[in-house]
Amino acid sequence: MKKSFAVFLKRNLAFAKLAIVSNLEYRLNYFVDAIVQPLLTTGIEVLLWFAVFQGAHTTTINGFGREYYLSYALWGAFFARIATSWMYEFRMIEEISSGSINSLIVRPMSFYEYYLSQLLGYKFITTIISMFVPVIAAWIFDLPTIYSRIPLAIVLCFYYLILVHTISFIVSSIAFHLTKISSFTVAKNLLLWILTGELFPLDLIPDPFKKIIITLPFSSGVFLPVGYITNRVTHAEFMQGFVSVTIGLVLLNFLGAVLWKKGLSSYTGTGA
């Protein structure tokens, strides 16, 4: 039992390294992805909040001043970068629809763990590299940030990332039956854009929708970690995120396992 767990860990560490090694083969693409994209997103969000405050002729919205929204925009872009998965979900779908999954399912490993470890490895290295942007910006512009809360906020976001991967696993399982489903990814990510709190802080939503949406596990992607760092969310509310993600993981993993099994039994070993 001990040995098989050690084998499992070594194997998954190797998958995480694979993500880093293969992404660094294309250095420029990687740095645009890790640095330039979050910088652009931050710029757009900051401009948006400047415009909102100027247009509304007010110093506070929902009890928070402009600096709080600028800080939310800055950290929101950083956490959203961790909490979304386009690239790996597209790859998972492509593996199934093109049949290149053949080379994975005949090996002693699971498709789920293979992509989860790659996603975590990729996000881990990207988080370290791209974290310089919000830390330096928050320090230079003196934006409201509780730095001591950052590590725990990142832990919640990475925990939520497992849920994101499980959703990707469910979406990709559908590719066994429908082949072309990249539109599902786009539609789902647009929905998550709102539900995570990437587009705007979820506490701006009127009740009772606010309570429901914040209770959903998706708020653990952006709103709860960023709200925790920028002092919009209490410690107790923040910790509730771990509970809702755990419940989401149990339910979605069950659904994913059923869909995967059904998909594999209908798989025709596409190509070759």
Partner: protein, 309 residues
């Protein structure tokens, strides 16, 4: 064929092959010599495909209602394959060779029937089973496209829980035999087809599989490269004695490597026996003054196949 599914006991024609398992997932405790390692019983697979008639009108109609046809890719196939044999699987395009290979390797689940490979149902993908097999699909990459072969092999060593130092040594040995040591550190996507196939072969053999499924391993290669790979495989199987199921459209591959021949036609096995017997039988049916070699017999068989289709 008898089988108790969850693991205490499995028996396949108990005279030939007996295997006892402990708890689910453990390795077999013993095998008899000259065992049957692959056995199928009425193994069948039906594929359902969407039919799209020509034109925009039919595309619009297809949004609401689609027509599907069923095609029997493999029909009630019964096989027994002994360990250590090299089986040449020959048939026309679409005859069911690759479908059979994919079912025996666990890629595809059968529509009906049963199969045991090394005592496991392949499509259950038990890790112990997967550790003992390898499949090489000549038209598909098995290694990682964006990294160098040595990085791929290091990853495979982790997946199959191999000793890293021993794996490196094995890679060097296999690369020397295939004369391709100079490209081990080049990104896979930058290699020529021949070099890539050599890398794929090393990857497939790294964990010393007991059963090796080779689907068109020399496809698209020039004559010299085909011969190199053929010679390499011949030496390898002589030394390691894995059971090999080989499909190829190049009859030299089959004639050089195969102990036994499986001829497949429209999803049915139409001949099982040795290559020599097959040629002798075929010659016996010809006029007295006519003698043909293996390649010619197969060519005639495939021609007849395509006419019947």
């Amino acid at each position: 064929m008898r089988s108790h599914h969850h693991g205490q006991y499995l028996a396949v024609d108990s005279i030939c092959f007996i295997k006892i398992l402990g708890n689910s997932g453990q390795s077999p405790i013993f095998y008899k010599t000259m065992s049957i390692v692959i056995e199928t019983k009425d193994l069948s697979r039906v594929f359902k495909t969407y039919q799209k008639p020509e034109g925009l009108k039919n595309s619009l109609r297809g949004i609401l209602k689609r027509e599907y046809t069923s095609k029997i890719a493999l029909d009630k196939t019964n096989l027994k394959i002994e360990s250590g044999k090299i089986i040449g699987l020959v048939g026309a395009n679409g005859a069911g060779k690759t479908t059979l290979l994919k079912m025996l390797s666990g890629l595809v689940t059968p529509s009906s029937g049963d199969a045991l490979v090394l005592g496991y149902r392949p499509w259950e993908r038990n890790y112990e089973f997967l550790r003992q097999i390898s499949i090489l699909l000549g038209q598909k990459n098995q290694l990682w496209w964006d990294i160098s072969p040595v990085d791929s092999y290091a990853l495979l060593a982790r997946i199959y829980d191999l000793d890293i130092t021993a794996t490196r040594k094995r890679v060097q040995d296999l690369a020397e035999m295939l004369q391709c040591s100079h490209v081990l550190t080049t990104q896979l996507r930058r290699l020529s087809l021949g070099e890539r196939m050599k890398m794929e072969i090393i990857g497939a053999l790294l964990h010393e599989p007991r059963i090796l499924f080779l689907d068109e391993p020399t496809i698209g290669l020039d004559i010299v490269a085909q011969e190199n790979i053929r010679n390499f495989l011949a030496n390898y199987v002589k030394e390691k004695e894995p059971t090999v199921i080989l499909t190829s459209h190049y009859m030299d591959d089959i004639a050089t490597l195969a102990d036994r021949l499986l001829l497949i036609s429209k999803g049915n096995i139409v001949y099982q026996g040795t290559v020599d017997e097959f040629v002798t039988n075929s010659n016996a049916e010809l006029a007295q003054d006519e003698k043909v070699d293996f390649e010619e017999v197969i060519r005639r068989f495939l021609e007849t196949e395509s006419r019947i289709r």
